[in-house]
């Protein structure tokens, strides 16, 4: 026990996010790329620097960043969640359905959607704990869960969106405060909470401890099963909020919500320096990653480049970001060896 806990605490960089260094080296890199992109786009195109375009980007960033955080929590745990899109879609559809079909007040409907998201997290977490915690298990269980939930989405909606959503619900996704979309404030609030979780709370540290070294975390007394299930509930909650916010912005609960989230859910945190093997996350990085993704999609439209290229570019960016991280790790190891 003593030896094991020393083993963990002997490598603090492996499992703790230091609250102070919000802007880590990788985040600064992403920030520089974002600034360069903004500079290029504002010089080369006419309407890029307009209030309307800012609003469009901000709205997209808001949901993408929360989706990225939903994935980031599980990546930090050393797993992956392939069902974030299906959870978000189901939560959106349930919320929309409750309002359109049963005329429940929108806060209660939204609470229902969030509860569904948390239930999905319980399902994922329980099966993963039961079948043996590993990357492969979380992959397979959440792949299956994604398919199960997609069936629910189609079965509930019969593939027809819920249109008649009350105005007070659509308000959240379509209001500006001082020219800034309300959604952006909501996302910032969520980001602050998630950052607080990882920087200050025991649960956050335990998630990263499991992701950094499962065996060591177990030996040092981390309640593995409880933390894994809680992390999945949190991931489900975040995915559900993203889905509900998106439905609020779109004004209808479309069964396609969440269908194309998978790539972005990994891209945003990974670009921002979250380590895929687990044990290291960056909330600011995930938000910056979401901004970069939205800027690129937006920039392609302004540069009149076929939007079809967007998917390819997203893939290249993930590879580039992970490749850079890998290079950084190799050179760090190299330096370490020289020092010895």
């Amino acid at each position: 026990m003593g030896i094991a806990s020393r083993e963990v605490s002997g490598r603090p960089h492996n499992w703790s996010l230091r609250g102070g260094d919000l802007l880590q080296t990788s985040s600064i890199g992403v920030l520089v790329v974002i600034l360069i992109l903004v500079a290029i786009l504002s010089v080369t195109t006419k309407d890029f620097l307009s209030m309307v375009n800012f609003r469009v980007i901000a709205e997209i960033v808001s949901t993408t960043a929360i989706v990225g955080m939903a994935q980031m929590v599980i990546i930090g745990l050393g797993g992956m969640n392939l069902s974030v899109g299906a959870i978000g879609g189901l939560a959106g559809v349930v919320t929309g359905g409750l309002m359109a079909a049963t005329h429940l007040p929108s806060p209660i409907a939204a609470a229902g959607g969030l509860a569904v998201g948390m239930l999905c997290g319980v399902f994922n977490g329980l099966f993963i704990v039961r079948l043996g915690i590993s990357g492969a298990t979380s992959f397979l269980v959440t792949l299956a869960a994604g398919s199960i939930l997609t069936g629910f989405i189609l079965g509930i909606t019969q593939s027809v969106p819920f249109y008649n959503l009350p105005d007070d619900f659509k308000f959240i996704g379509n209001t500006q405060v001082g020219g800034i979309p309300l959604l952006l404030f909501v996302m910032a609030g969520v980001a602050i909470l998630v950052n607080f979780l990882f920087a200050r709370l025991g649960l956050g540290r335990q998630i990263l401890a499991i992701g950094g070294n499962l065996r060591a975390a177990e030996l040092s007394g981390v309640p593995i099963n409880r933390v894994v299930i809680t992390a999945h509930i949190l991931s489900g909650l975040l995915a559900a909020s993203a889905g509900i916010l998106l439905v609020s912005r779109l004004g209808s609960a479309h069964p396609d919500v969440g269908k194309d989230w998978m790539l972005a859910s990994f891209a945003a945190p990974i670009i921002g320096g979250t380590r895929l093997a687990g044990g290291k996350v960056s909330v600011v990085g995930a938000v910056l990653g979401a901004i970069l993704l939205a800027l690129i999609a937006d920039g392609l439209i302004f540069l009149k480049i076929d939007i079809y290229w967007n998917t390819l570019i997203q893939g290249l960016i993930i590879l580039g970001a992970v490749g850079l991280d890998r290079l950084r790790m190799i050179s760090a190891e190299h330096l370490e060896r020289q020092r010895r």
């Binding site: 992956m80 397979l140 939930l149 997609t150 079965g155 593939s159 998917t311």
Partner: protein, 322 residues
């Protein structure tokens, strides 16, 4: 010796379970549904099995070395769309177009394996990124066009019988025999499984691990392209979305057939029966009048159940070894 016999017994028994389920469901369906044994239903069923099994084989080769291939749907689309474009737009002979499509799939797989070996980046991220790079590139190059004016001779591959069996199914059988021989009867197959079971140990034993990884992904890409081309021949159209729904079935077929996900044990025969079991269950849902929208839910539960069995089998195997 006794342990070996015990392990062999378990390995044999999981194929027996899946084969048993296939026959049980077939028997049940032939009793409760008059349409099940109709020539139309049987030929449609066997064609679905042919494609599903190939998709399963494609994942099987990634699984054999302990990797996942998330890009197999994109590789299938590359093979199908390239072959279709060559025969439809450039009027090349069908067999040349097919070979080109297969080679393109193999090349896409080879690039994937090469990147994994050379960069040392997590294979999951590589295949996830390549899935969008391949599919995005293909979409941009073809402008998401449908290739639906395919030569009649090509479409015939998808709807002709030979010796009473669909040509598609026979093609899959021939490929299956080749794969089984490769895995079970050649040194290369043993090296694949050795890398899958323990890459570090395989390297120490003098196995060229890097080359084996590239080889496995190349075969995986080739098989995905074969599945895409066969499906295009059946549907008489090739489009970029041809492999969109393959990810789940690609895992379900081998896992149902007794392949262990962590690498080191694969079953070619089991994968065929795993594919058959899934096609039969889908068929059963149709017969029972279940709304099509819920099929995905059933498929998800099948995968979950199969994986739970896989885990149980693994712990049983490790117990019988101890």
């Amino acid at each position: 010796m006794e342990q070996k016999a015990a392990i062999r017994g378990v390995i044999r028994s999981d194929v027996v379970v899946v084969i048993g389920s296939v026959f049980a469901i077939s028997l049940l369906l032939s009793q409760i549904s008059t349409g099940f044994t109709s020539a139309y239903n049987l030929s449609s069923l066997t064609r679905t099995i042919a494609v599903t099994a190939l998709v399963g084989f494609s994942q099987l080769f990634a699984l054999s070395i302990g990797h996942f291939n998330l890009a197999l749907g994109a590789m299938g689309a590359i093979g199908a769309v390239l072959a279709a474009a060559l025969m439809m737009v450039y009027n090349l002979p069908i067999w040349i177009a097919i070979v080109a499509g297969l080679l393109a799939g193999a090349l896409a797989g080879a690039i994937q394996g090469w990147l994994i070996v050379k960069t040392g980046i997590n294979p999951f991220v590589i295949t996830l990124s390549l899935a969008s790079i391949y599919l995005g590139g293909l979409t941009a190059l073809t402008k998401a066009k449908f290739f639906d004016a395919l030569p009649e001779a090509f479409n015939r591959i998808g709807n002709t019988n030979f010796l009473g069996l669909p040509v598609m199914l026979l093609t899959t059988f021939i490929i299956a025999v080749a794969l089984w021989t490769l895995v079970a009867r050649t040194p290369l197959g043993r090296q694949l499984l050795a890398v899958g079971a323990n890459p570090a140990a395989a390297t120490f034993a003098g196995i060229p691990t890097g080359a084996i990884i590239v080889f496995a992904h190349t075969v995986s890409g080739f098989l995905a392209a074969a599945a895409g081309i066969l499906l295009a021949a059946r549907l008489n159209v090739a489009q970029i979305s041809i492999g969109t729904d393959w990810l789940l079935i690609s895992f379900a077929a081998p896992v149902l057939g007794g392949t262990i996900l962590s690498g080191g044990k694969v079953s070619v025969v089991g994968t065929i029966f795993g594919a058959a079991l899934m096609a039969l269950i889908t068929n059963m849902l149709v017969v029972l009048g279940v709304n099509f929208f819920w099929f995905q839910t059933f498929l998800g539960f099948i995968l979950l159940g199969a994986y739970a069995l896989d885990r149980a089998r693994l712990s049983y195997l490790s117990q019988s070894k101890a």
